[in-house]
């Protein structure tokens, strides 16, 4: 019962924050409300009994990523798009489409019998990290993924640096722009 109440509160906050993201005009406000919704999602994780995930959520998302976002927004202060309208005809077409899709999936979800399993493991730090770094022969082998992930992050960083340091009008920048 209590869990339900907590959940409702957090859900309302998260959803409301998300809506703020949608409606806010300046990116900075959007970023801040995004942080809010992420934090509340972290709370929901905790509520569902996987605190480690919640912690990671707060650290990586609400911490690192959003910091990056805000930082970038600050750097390019031309970010506010006062001249471009928030929504246009396309948006008017998109929003109902997405809502319809969501509604359909919702129907499908509701028709599905779902129930919490009593035997779920609480994803505490210890358990999760053990599973994650279980290098045993017959183990799940997540650690390999983890290493790969490290590689991915590294490469992403390098790519970011390479791209971001391009001067305006240089040939490569043209190519990059063509690519994306």
């Amino acid at each position: 019962m209590l869990a339900l109440i907590y959940f409702i509160i957090l859900a309302v906050i998260a959803l409301g924050a998300a809506t703020c993201v949608l409606l806010s005009r300046h990116p900075l406000y959007g970023a801040l409300s995004l942080v809010v919704s992420m934090v509340s999602l972290a709370g929901i994780y905790g509520l569902l009994g996987s605190p480690f995930l919640g912690v990671v959520q707060v650290m990586v998302y609400a911490g690192a990523i959003m910091m990056l976002v805000t930082f970038v927004i600050m750097v390019l202060n031309g970010a506010r798009d006062s001249r471009t309208p928030m929504f246009d005809k396309v948006s008017l077409f998109i929003i109902p489409a997405v809502l319809v899709l969501a509604a359909l999936v919702g129907v499908a979800l509701v028709r599905a019998p779902l129930g919490f399993d009593a035997a779920t493991i609480r994803g505490s730090v210890a358990v999760t990290s053990e599973t994650l770094f279980n290098v045993a022969q017959g183990g799940p082998g997540y650690f390999i993924l983890f290493e790969v992930l490290g590689l991915l992050l590294l490469s992403a960083m390098v790519a970011a640096v390479l791209m971001a340091k391009k001067r305006l009008g240089s040939v490569d920048s043209e190519n990059v722009e063509e690519k994306h």
Binding site: A3, L4, A11, A14, A18, T19, V21, L22, P27, A31, M38, L41, I44, Y45, L48, F52, L53, Q57, Y61, I65, L68, V69, V72, I73, L76, G78, A79, D81, T84, M86, F87, D88, I94, I95, V98, L101, A102, V105, L109, L114, G115, F116, D117, A119, T120, G123, T128, P140, Y142, L152, L153, A156, A159, A160, A164, K166, L168, S173, E177, H180
Partner: protein, 104 residues
């Protein structure tokens, strides 16, 4: 009335929808990226929600996968914002439509 996994899924769905709407309907690049983040979050949430409906090991899997997706989201974010910076430098604008070079 107890907390049902379906609620979690509904919430995830709603947030996902909002995220997609943001990503597509807003023309400001920052909002596009933020919408993507939001959608990713929703997916993680639904992961965890489903994980909780499963017995032991499976549930743990369901809670570990989001870790990876979060990490990947971090990578995506840094690359994406690098791009934004780059593009913003080239065209003094953050309007997504003004960038699109897709031609059929």
């Amino acid at each position: 009335m107890e907390l049902q996994p379906i609620f979690i899924q509904i919430l995830a769905l709603a947030i996902f929808a909002v995220g997609i709407i943001v990503a597509i309907s807003r023309r400001n690049l920052f909002f596009v990226l933020m919408g993507i983040e939001l959608a990713l979050n929703a997916v993680n949430l639904s992961f965890v929600g489903f994980a909780k409906t499963l017995p032991a090991e499976a549930s743990l899997t369901g809670q570990i996968v989001p870790l990876f997706s979060i990490a990947i989201a971090a990578a995506e974010a840094c690359v994406g914002f690098a791009m934004v910076i780059l593009i913003f430098r080239n065209r003094e604008s953050v309007d997504a439509d003004s960038y699109s070079n897709m031609r059929g």
